[in-house]
Structure formats: C-alpha cells, structure tokens
C-alpha cells in the first residue's frame, strides 16, 4: 500500500507532474495516440482501484472497456449524436454489467476470481461477434463523428484530447478520494485480513461488489472515450488480450499506487506503439512479455512502486514475516 504517494503534498506533486505531462502530451506525440494513451491510463487506474485496494484480479476488464465502446458508438450513430448521452449511456451499461457480473464473481476471490471474470467476459465477446446487426460483428462499428458536447464540435483531435484529459483527471481524483475515504480503509482492512474485517461486522462481499462496480464503470468510461476518440468499436475492445494488456499496464506501473498504473499505461502503450513501428515490430509480444515477466520476478512493486520504495520509503526496517520464519524480507511483498 503506497497511500503516501497519492495523499498530501507528495500526491499533489506527483499528480501535478503527471497533469503537466498530460498538458503537453499532444504536442509531443501524435494527438490521437495521446488520446489512446490517456484512455488506457484511466482503464489501468480503474483496474488498480480493484486490484490494488481489494486484491481482486479481474481478467475481464475488457468487457467493460469494449462493451461501453460499443454502446457509445451505437448511441452516437443511432441517436442524437450527443457526446454526453453516449458516454453516460456507456457508463450506465458498464455499471449494470459490472453489477451483474460482480454478483456472481465476488463469491470467489484470488485465482478463481481471475478465471471467472475471464470466462464471463468471453460470453460478451461471443455475443458481440455474433450479434452482427448490433455490433457489426467482426467488422465493428465505424462512426463518422465524435458527436458534440453542448454544441462544441469534438472533431479536432486536440480539443477532444483535452476533454478526455479533464475527464480522466476528475476520474483519477475520484479514485484517490475513494481509496482515502473510510470506504477505502475498509477495503484495505479486508485485503489485509478478510476474516478480521468480517468479524468486526463488515459485509465483505458487498464492499467487494461496490469496488468491482466502481472499477467497471470507470473502465467503461475509459473505453467509451477511447471508442469515440477512434470513431470505432470492434472485437479488439472486448477481446481478452485487452484485459491482459490492462493487467500488464497496472502491474508494470505499480499495484495500489493509482499514479503508478498511469505511468505503466504510458510505458506500455508507448513501447507497444513505437516498437511496432521498428524493424522488430513483429516481436512486440516477445518484448512486452519479457519485460512483464522480469517485473513480476524481480520488481513486483512495479516501476513507480520500486522508485517509491527505493527513494521514498520512510525507514527501511527488517520485518520478520510470521508465516515464513525462514525468510527475512525487507518490507512485506505487496500482496495482491
């Protein structure tokens, strides 16, 4: 738990730095790529809200991301062309879906939870594939316009980028607020010791469900912004590889650090995007997989987590782990 990163002056500093980077981003990289990057960063934050603070690893985040993307594009294409309606509709869809899926999935935790969310996400994938009249099947949905926001045209990539940035900043602020609230404290307590949390009267399943729904809604928000930004929705969005990518971004950046996943998403997307343009572009997955494996093996705190740990840890002390008396470790491993 690295709440120290996201709270107080340090939180403001790190958040401010990321925000400043976000402000200049579309002038440094191609604006549409910048849009994609911020959307994935938000998706990673949504995932961290779940994994970092409840210990639940969802391997089905793409169902909210991609599902909301479909809803958003369908609403723009067939509806009023209003950006707000499309995004709200998409988030509502993700929220209801998360509620239904969560109702089933939070009955189990750990590895089971990962496998169950993965499997349920596949249901939506196959539905999207076969309900071609609604989703365009394997061809996807293309829209000609991003819609309008209270009369403002969003077709300019930079205008749309800054809109996405504002939404993302507000969402991240919301996430920070959630994890620093009493609700977040209960989540943390549950993650550390579920039995104890239960014994003091918390209905742990309800708390987990609430976290899952929040995470799903945020992922849906990110996915709808992504789909509208790219003016398309397709099977790539609901594919399990997208869920895997979101997991990788978060762990790359640092579980439970909120800001870490933003850095992780930026790194992942940049690596992915720019490696794919180089002569070793056909080896992208080898590069990504290897980097990810190394992080898991030697740097489980993630990039931001490791930096924090190395340079900002309050005071290094040797902690004797009660369960493993034969091992002396510096700080407990971040338990997932």
């Amino acid at each position: 738990m690295s709440l120290s990163l996201i709270q107080g002056r340090r939180g403001l500093l790190v958040g401010g730095m990321l925000f400043a980077a976000g402000l200049v981003l579309p002038y440094v990289v191609y604006p549409v790529f910048a849009i994609n990057l911020v959307c994935f960063a938000l998706a990673a934050v949504s995932f961290d809200l779940l994994l970092g603070f409840t210990g639940l690893l969802s391997f089905g985040q793409a169902m909210f991301w991609g599902g909301a993307g479909y809803v958003a594009t369908i609403l723009i294409k067939g509806g009023t062309g209003s950006f707000v309606v499309a995004v709200l509709g998409a988030v509502a869809y993700a929220l209801v879906l998360a509620l239904a899926v969560g109702f089933v999935a939070v009955r189990r935790s750990g590895i089971y939870f990962a496998m169950i969310t993965l499997a349920i996400a596949e249901i939506q994938y196959f539905l999207a594939f076969q309900l071609a009249d609604l989703t365009g099947g394997e061809n996807g949905i293309q829209i000609v316009s991003r819609g309008t926001l209270f009369g403002l045209s969003l077709e300019d990539d930079k205008v749309y980028y800054y809109l996405v940035l504002v939404v993302a900043v507000l969402s991240v602020a919301f996430a920070v607020r959630v994890v620093s609230s009493p609700f977040g404290a209960v989540l943390a307590a549950m993650r550390e010791n579920e039995v104890r949390a239960r014994s003091v009267g918390y209905r742990t399943e309800s708390f987990r469900l609430a976290a899952f729904v929040m995470s799903g809604a945020l992922a849906g928000l990110a996915g709808s912004l992504f789909a509208i930004g790219n003016r398309l929705a397709g099977l790539d969005g609901v594919d399990w590889h997208t869920s895997g990518a979101i997991v990788m971004m978060t762990i790359l950046g640092g579980i439970g650090t909120i800001f870490g996943p933003i850095v992780g998403a930026a790194l992942f997307e940049s690596l992915d995007y720019f490696v794919s343009k180089t002569p070793i572009g056909d080896k992208t997955n080898i590069v990504m997989g290897t980097v990810f494996a190394i992080v898991i093996l030697v740097a489980r705190r993630g990039i931001v987590g490791e930096i924090l740990h190395r340079f900002f840890a309050p005071r290094k002390r040797l902690v004797e782990d009660e369960d493993q008396p034969d091992r002396l470790i510096v700080d407990p491993e971040p338990s997932v």
Binding site: F33, N36, F126, A132, G137, E138, L232, G234, T284
Partner: protein, 440 residues
Amino acid sequence: MKGSLLRQVAGRRGILEWFDEFEIHFSVTHEGERVKLFRLSTAGAVIVAVLSSLGAPQGGNAQSGPIHIAVITDMSGIYSAIAGRGAVEATKMAVEDFGGSVLGRQIVVDAIDHRNNGPEAATKAREAFDNGAELAMDETNSAVALAVDAVAKEKHKLEIVTGGATSALTGASCSKYTYHYAYDTYALAASTGRNIARQPNGKTWYGIVPNYAFGTQMLADFTAAIKPEGASFIHADMVPVANADFSSYLLAAKNSGAQVLGVLNAGADTVNTMKQAKQFGLDKSMKIAVGLLFLSDVDALPDVFAGSRITTSWYWNEDAAARAWADRFTKRLGGGLRPTSIQAADYSATWQWLQAVKAVGSVDADKVVAYLDGRQFNDFYAHAAEWRARDHRVTHEMYVVDVLPKEQIKEPHAWFKIVQVMPPSRAFRPESQSVCVKTW
C-alpha cells in the same frame, strides 16, 4: 524542419532516432533563439521547443516534401503471408518502376503494421495521412479496411483496398475516397458458385457457414449465384464462432446426399473443416468449394486444400505477363515464394494511382477520383478492368481455379489450374444491384 532543432540540442544519434519516433515538429528557425536554446539543458530545450511549437501545424509539408504511400498491412499475423512484407515490396517495386518520383516529388513507401487491430489501424492511418501520406493501400483484414475507410473519408485522402474482403466497402460503407480493387466476398461467391452450379453434378449444395457477418454474407452471395443455374443449398449449418470440431456438420453433410460441400468459412476454421472432411472421406464423395483461399494458404497446407475449387483475382502463372512480374517479385524477395493475388494487386493499384496523379498533375484525392472514375485499363494484374464510378468497385476478370495435389504440380508453387475465366460483368455485383448510397 522535423527534428532539426533536436539534432543540435541532443546530438546523440540514439536519442535523435528516439525523438524522431515521437514525431516532434519544429517551426523554430530563428537564429538567436537557436543559440539561446543551445545553452539550456536538453530537457529544458525540449520543453521550450514544445511550447514554441504550440499552434504550429502538424506535418506542414503537404505541398513540397515527398509523397508518402502508406501500405497498411499485417506484418506478422495471420494475413502476413497473404500480404505483409510482400505487399510492401510490391508497392515499392511499382514506385521504382515508375521512376521513384511523380510531379517532381519523391515517392516514399511506408510499411505500417495494423496488427489486425481496428483502433490501431485507424490511429496509424490518421497519423500517416497527417504526415504526408496521399494513399493508403492493402488493408488485408476487413475490420481494418473499414476503419481506414472512415479515416480516409474524414481526411479526404484516398484509400485503395486490395486485401480486405468485405463487399460492404462498396456497399453500405461505400465512399468517394475508397476504391475496392482486388476481390470481394461477392466476386468469390459469384465466380466459384456459378462455375460449379453449371455442372450437372453441382446442383445440390451443403453449406458449412460461420455464424458471423462474413459467413452469412458469403452464404447469401453463394445462394444468389447458384440459383440462376438451377442449383440450391439443401442445407446450411450455421457454425458458431471459434468452433474447432466440425465432425457433426461434416457427418450431416455426408448423409445429406448433396453433391457440393460449400466451405464458406475462413482461416483456421477452413483448415479445421478441410482436415476433418478428409477424415470423413468427404473429398472423395463431394466436390468441395472453398469461399476464401489464397496461394499462401496452399503453400502452408497443400494436402489439406488439394482438390478444392476456389476463385482468385490473379494467378502468378496465368500468362506470360503475370509470370514475368512474378519472376521479378520472387527474385526481389528471395526464398522462392511466389506472389499472391493481393501482392500483385498492390503493385497494379500503386502503378495506376501514380499514372492518375501524373495525368491530373495533383495528388488531391478529389481530382484523382474524378480522373479515375469510369476509366478502363489493362495491366498484368487486371484484365478488362474498370474503375466503376457507381460504387468504386474496380472490376476485372476473376479466375476460378482447382487446387492441384502435390503430385500433379509441374513446378514449386504452381498449385492452381485455371478452369474458368470469369468476365468482370459476371464476377462482380452488377451496378443495378448495388446498395451503395452515392453521396458524392
């Protein structure tokens, strides 16, 4: 001026390349400012440069710099053998044969890997158009082709699809800025279907059809194609997505007494179907029509596809001109592989586009479209061809071929035997049936 400032402040080659990748554009030319920046740290210089470029147009080299052709293709995935590197090289060959420049501007071919991902293809296409690409090519993968179609429409740049199969490109999604060049699902179905249905033992069909958009479209097109010849599907199984076990459908097909087995799926599904069909001995009792198949598929699995009948838009050994080009292509790529129809189409389309640009004296898509619409041409790839103005379908001859077994081929990769040449009027959807709503 792209990157020129950094060349001074960063200096190191590795960093430079890295920044080039990030597509930084500078409009800083002021000598005094340049000296001033020199004194700043690298990081500071980047920030100042970035801020000073606020408001500078991205890719402001539309009128003078090189003309880019973006070959948006699958460089490593399942379509990389059909198009991939070969598609890029074929396009480069066309550019080199044309002289390497047009309207006094150099022509640059950019290979863009779409990795079979719609949003990625759209983003990269957008970036390419913004950075001087005047033509997007290939797009092997229907979802990618449709995604780029939308971008081309938005940017008013030209897209010539040689790889994507969906006839929606000239149907519901037709656009002024998209031509569909090589083949489509309708042409495949019309040619193969009509050819087989004409024969006395080609009247009753059994379909194995994937239950998604491609499959239902294929079935509809095949059904329409064989009907005039008095043939029909006695049954079609709508096989679920990602199904790997076709034995129940194949068994039913065998018991149905149908004369023709229509394998209307694609990719790995087709391989699974064909493998299991051979286990049931169906290849001996029925004629097998495969909806979508390329030379490279047969290269990979010759025994699996031997004996099936398909349609291709071009075959490297179809005549002397095709063969001459194929020899050059094979020599250029090395490894002995022969070009697929899509790779040949990439060359042909690039050449035709360059001719048009030269003729109108502009790369402007509207002017090029005005020139191309209705124009007829012939080259080593496209015979009796026309840029159809009605829906931007490029029509030409199609070839119904049999896939020969290993023992019967006369030289490596000579898998096909042409059994019928389909004239364009019969191969492609007639204008009268077009569902394209022409808005231009």
